[in-house]
């Protein structure tokens, strides 16, 4: 029977190759832990490059993986098990870039933004209650909030394309959503009215990231132009321009601010610049220390007095405030785009290849899985 091509299904073969390629290059851009009072993390939300938002139950992942392979996988194992999402919605056309929870508890809103320039919101309670599975393609869930970035008006009435949203931040006291946008502006949306309250203009290139410093009603944005800016939300003016790459630029390297992170007291700012992280004390507006890493830093956050950072290599780095490496944990994604921390210390790392690695506070891998594709 070998070599018999009578039943050759060319389209099927094409599809399978495309699907395979698509699957391999799919990327998790953001992971987020659902708010919960349980000390053990139960639900992880994953936003990926196919525009989907899926939630996974960690406990079922662990038990499935255990029965699946007998032992949970080590980081070098390429044959990762696929996990079944407990909830699945098609969030955006094009990749979904960011996920945030607005508020917590019963009436928490799940906000997402993506390449289509929209910010969408769902009621988390409804999502968990409903039975939306992969098969239904998540289309039955309508967002309760849908905001579209404004287009720029050019000469003769020409309209620019809708700029994408790369990151969002929230201020629940003011009822605001901040979006870092592709037109080098940051927008402040009013959640109630669905209108743009404020536009923050000043960066010379598109924005990568945004964090809200709610204690002093400020936001901090990081941009492709290599600077981070601190904005006052009341006036919409840039309070301070931080140029973390100033010293590195002299050496001729190009840098951009890919991610910024604030610590819990909102007085320390970590600011990535290519392969470097600079640590700023905001009250003193001084750079305290600089950390050089092996690969481009793509996401980071503070845990107590330590900085967790991931980047273009499969490592989860933990630094202290002086920039000394405390630990380096191998993780599944070859390039990690997102890191999120559960209050009890469990960390989820998501990235290229649609891999998610959940790492316990011991540094051991609780579960590692591939996200399901549509």
């Amino acid at each position: 029977m070998c070599g018999d091509a009578t039943n050759w299904d060319e389209h099927g073969y094409k599809d399978s190759i495309l699907k395979d390629r698509d699957f391999q290059t799919r990327t998790v851009f953001r992971t987020a832990w659902a708010p919960s009072l349980n000390p053990n993390p139960d639900t992880l939300l994953v936003a990926s490059s196919d525009g989907s938002i899926a939630s996974y139950s960690i406990s079922s992942c662990i038990s499935n993986l255990n029965t699946h392979s007998g032992l949970f996988n080590t980081s070098n194992d390429r044959l990762l098990a696929q996990a079944q999402p407990s909830c699945f919605i098609q969030g955006h056309d094009g990749p979904t870039y960011d996920l945030k929870f607005y508020g917590d508890g019963e009436d928490a809103l799940l906000l997402s933004c993506g390449d289509d320039g929209r910010i969408r919101g769902w009621r988390w309670k409804e999502l968990t209650g409903s039975n939306c599975s992969v098969s239904s393609h998540g289309n039955d869930m309508k967002p309760i909030l849908d905001l579209v970035n404004p287009q720029h008006r050019g000469p003769w009435g020409a309209l620019s394309p809708i700029p994408e949203n790369n990151a969002i931040a929230v201020n629940t006291q003011e009822g605001s959503i901040f979006a870092a946008s592709g037109d080098s502006c940051a927008y402040c949306w009013d959640l109630e009215t669905g209108k743009v309250k404020m536009v923050f203009k000043g960066h010379s290139d598109y924005l990568h990231c945004i964090v809200a410093r709610n204690s002093s009603n400020q936001i901090i944005t990081g941009s492709e132009d290599g600077t981070a800016r601190i904005w006052d939300c009341k006036s919409g003016k840039s309070v301070q321009v931080i140029d973390p790459g100033k010293d590195f630029k002299l050496e001729g390297s190009v840098s951009w601010v890919g991610c910024v992170a604030l610590d819990a007291s909102e007085s320390w700012l970590a600011c990535s610049s290519g392969r470097n992280i600079s640590l700023w004390n905001l009250p003193a507006s001084e750079c305290i220390s600089r950390i050089s890493t092996q690969a481009t830093v793509q996401d980071m956050l503070f845990e107590n007095n330590q900085i967790l950072a991931v980047g273009a290599d499969p490592l989860l780095n933990r630094f202290d405030m002086n920039g000394v490496i405390l630990s380096q944990i191998q993780c599944a994604p070859p390039s990690a785009f997102s890191i999120s921390l559960y209050p009890t210390g469990v960390v989820a790392v998501g990235g290229y290849g649609c891999c998610v690695d959940v790492i316990s506070q011991f540094g051991s891998h609780m579960c590692t899985f591939h996200c399901q594709c549509v």
Partner: protein, 599 residues
């Protein structure tokens, strides 16, 4: 019995004074010899045991102190009744008046009758009499009883709480029995599988923990407690290896800093020491940050690897090549981790490796059938041979010292007809004279006048023995120095300055050549004295005087002092005033001289 009791309670002073007499009183009729017959021995033993029992039952809580005088002034010298009884018995046993096993019997009785608290005192007594008990005659009689006593004690002790006392007993046994004593050996190599490390099988509510990791981690202990299973089933090994790699990955990802290593010093560790792991899942996070905890686990791994790699009774027990390779890889990882674990990881690993290496020797010993390996002390000669050290040279190095000793070893060197001597002028110049004969047709390259060393030596000879010839050097060059007698007639005329002087000169030559040696030795001493050098130097150096300079020259880089010495040794010509100048010449030329022949 009453007699004995009275003796013990009332007599004071060392047992030697009254013990024998006491025995003779007890035995009825009194024995004739100092050694007792068998039935008499038996009788005495019964009496002693009864007496001991009486003492113990009469005494209160502290049996070893019972009967001790309360009077403070005497308390230093007096003993309790029981130690007294034991002392007397021990004395009798040691002198072989009574059967040697009796003391051991009494000690066993005593430990069996005492509480654990008192046993410590009794054991202290045993330890203090260790030397006497360990004597060959007594040891042969009582070793089994002693072993039984100790094992009974160990069985009664709690392994968790009486660690120190257990250790004392084990130490005593180790010292009491020869090293190769195999009675305590686990000959079959059975593992204590009852030593199970329990851990939680269900995750606790309300705390956050990676339960899989927790189970994997503590699951390893099962393999450690029963390693045979890993050895025989490849599947089990696989499972073990993957669990281990998960744990090692976790360790490797989180190196411990020196601060964490410093945080718990050894004293604290001793306080917290426990022979079992604390396996509560709540402690897991803390334990992973604890360097000593990490060390315990890693050392367990090393022990297991050593077991797996050790040869079994037959070769089929050996693990396969693939598993062996994996073991080696894991072992390297573990060792590296140990090295990185503060404090002093490198030193710690070194010690552990040393201990494991020793352990391997024991494994081999056991495999070879536990042969006794104590050796008789080796005879002294070989001991000295072993002690052979690198010799120390009195004068700095071998050659100098040999030179120094040369004279002592060769007392007749001066009269030896074959000794190397300063050649006479006539002999020395012969080769050059032959070359000067044009009929020989020597090429310039091989001509002796072009050999700088030869010429220089010749000039020095001439300066000493043939001043007249030497003086011609200024006018006629090196060839003029050659004695005319050696030259062929046609060449001779060329160098003949004053023909009438010739006769005188040749006569002088002859006398000098014969008296040469004597003259030299006589002059040597004053020359040295003038120079302020040690007189000793010349007595040894003279036999070699001509070549001394070259010999020393080969040592490379003589110091100015040495040069000075050389000059005094070698330049023994009559012109003491020239010594300085000579020395300078020598110093300048000495490197060029080294290629000259060295005897």
């Amino acid at each position: 019995m009453e007699v004995l009791k009275r003796a013990i309670m009332q007599q004071s002073g060392p047992p030697e004074t009254f013990a024998l007499q006491m025995v003779q009183e007890v035995i009825n009729p009194p024995p004739k010899q100092t050694k007792l017959a068998q039935d008499e021995n038996q009788f005495l033993e019964n009496v002693l045991r009864l007496l001991l029992q009486e003492f113990v039952s009469a005494s209160g809580e502290k049996i070893m102190q019972f009967g001790q005088s309360i009077d403070e002034s005497e308390s230093e010298t007096t003993q309790g009744h029981i130690p007294r009884l034991l002392d007397i018995t021990l004395y009798l046993c040691e002198k072989e008046h009574i059967e040697g096993g009796m003391i051991f019997q009494l000690l066993e009785d005593l430990t069996e009758m005492s509480t654990m608290e008192n046993c410590k005192d009794v054991f202290g007594y045993i330890e203090s009499k260790q030397d006497i008990l360990g004597k060959r005659e007594l040891f042969a009689r009582g070793k089994l009883v002693m072993l039984r006593t100790c094992n009974q004690l160990l069985r009664r002790l709690s392994k968790a709480n009486d660690v120190v006392f257990c250790g004392r007993i084990l130490m005593f046994l180790a010292r009491f029995f020869p090293l190769s004593e195999r009675s305590a050996l686990n000959i079959k190599g059975v593992f204590n599988t009852t030593n199970v490390t329990k851990y939680e099988k269900e995750p606790l509510e309300g705390i956050c923990i990676d339960f899989n990791f927790y189970q994997t981690f503590w699951g390893l202990q099962e393999y450690f407690s029963s390693p045979t299973s890993v050895n025989h089933a490849p599947a089990k090994w696989k499972k073990f290896a993957s669990s281990l790699s998960v744990v090692l990955n976790t360790f490797e990802a989180q190196p411990l800093s020196d601060e964490e290593g410093d945080a718990n010093n050894l004293e604290e560790e001793a306080v917290n020491f426990s022979i079992k792991y604390l396996t509560s899942s709540k402690l897991m996070g803390l334990e992973l940050k604890d360097p000593s905890f990490r060390r315990h686990v890693l050392v367990q791994c090393l022990i297991l690897f050593d077991y797996l790699k050790a040869p079994g009774k037959n070769d089929t027990d050996l693990p396969s090549e693939i598993i062996k390779e994996e073991i080696t890889l894991c072992e390297e990882r573990v060792k590296k981790l140990l090295q990185l674990t503060p404090p002093k990881g490198r030193e710690f690993l070194g010690k552990i490796e040393h201990i494991l290496e020793r352990e391997k020797n024991w494994v081999w010993w056991k495999r070879d059938g536990c042969l006794p390996y104590e050796r008789q002390p080796i005879e002294k000669k070989t001991v000295q041979g072993d002690k052979k050290r690198r010799p120390r040279w009195r004068l700095g190095n071998k050659e100098l010292s040999q030179l120094w000793k040369w004279a002592d070893q060769n007392p007749n060197a001066l009269t030896d007809p074959h000794r190397v001597q300063t050649p006479s002028i006539m002999e020395y110049w012969k080769p050059l004279a032959e070359d000067m004969d044009p009929s020989a047709g020597i090429e310039a390259e091989y001509h002796h006048k072009n050999k700088r060393v030869y010429c220089w030596k010749g000039l020095r000879l001439a300066a000493r023995q043939d001043l007249e010839g030497f003086s011609k050097f200024t006018d006629l060059g090196i060839e003029g120095v050659v004695p005319l007698e050696l030259l062929p007639p046609d060449v001779r005329s060329k160098y003949q300055a004053k023909p009438n002087d010739r006769g005188k000169r040749s006569k002088k030559e002859e006398t000098k050549a014969s008296a040469h040696q004597v003259e030299e030795n006589q002059i040597a001493t004053p020359a040295n004295e003038i120079d302020g050098e040690d007189v000793k130097t010349d007595t040894t150096a003279t036999p070699m005087e001509f070549d001394a300079a070259t010999v020393i020259g080969t040592q490379g880089g003589p110091t100015p002092d040495e040069l000075q010495k050389q000059s005094s040794d070698t330049d023994i010509g009559p012109e003491a005033g020239q010594l300085e100048a000579d020395a300078e010449v020598e110093a300048g030329i000495i490197d060029g001289e080294t290629d000259a022949d060295v005897d």
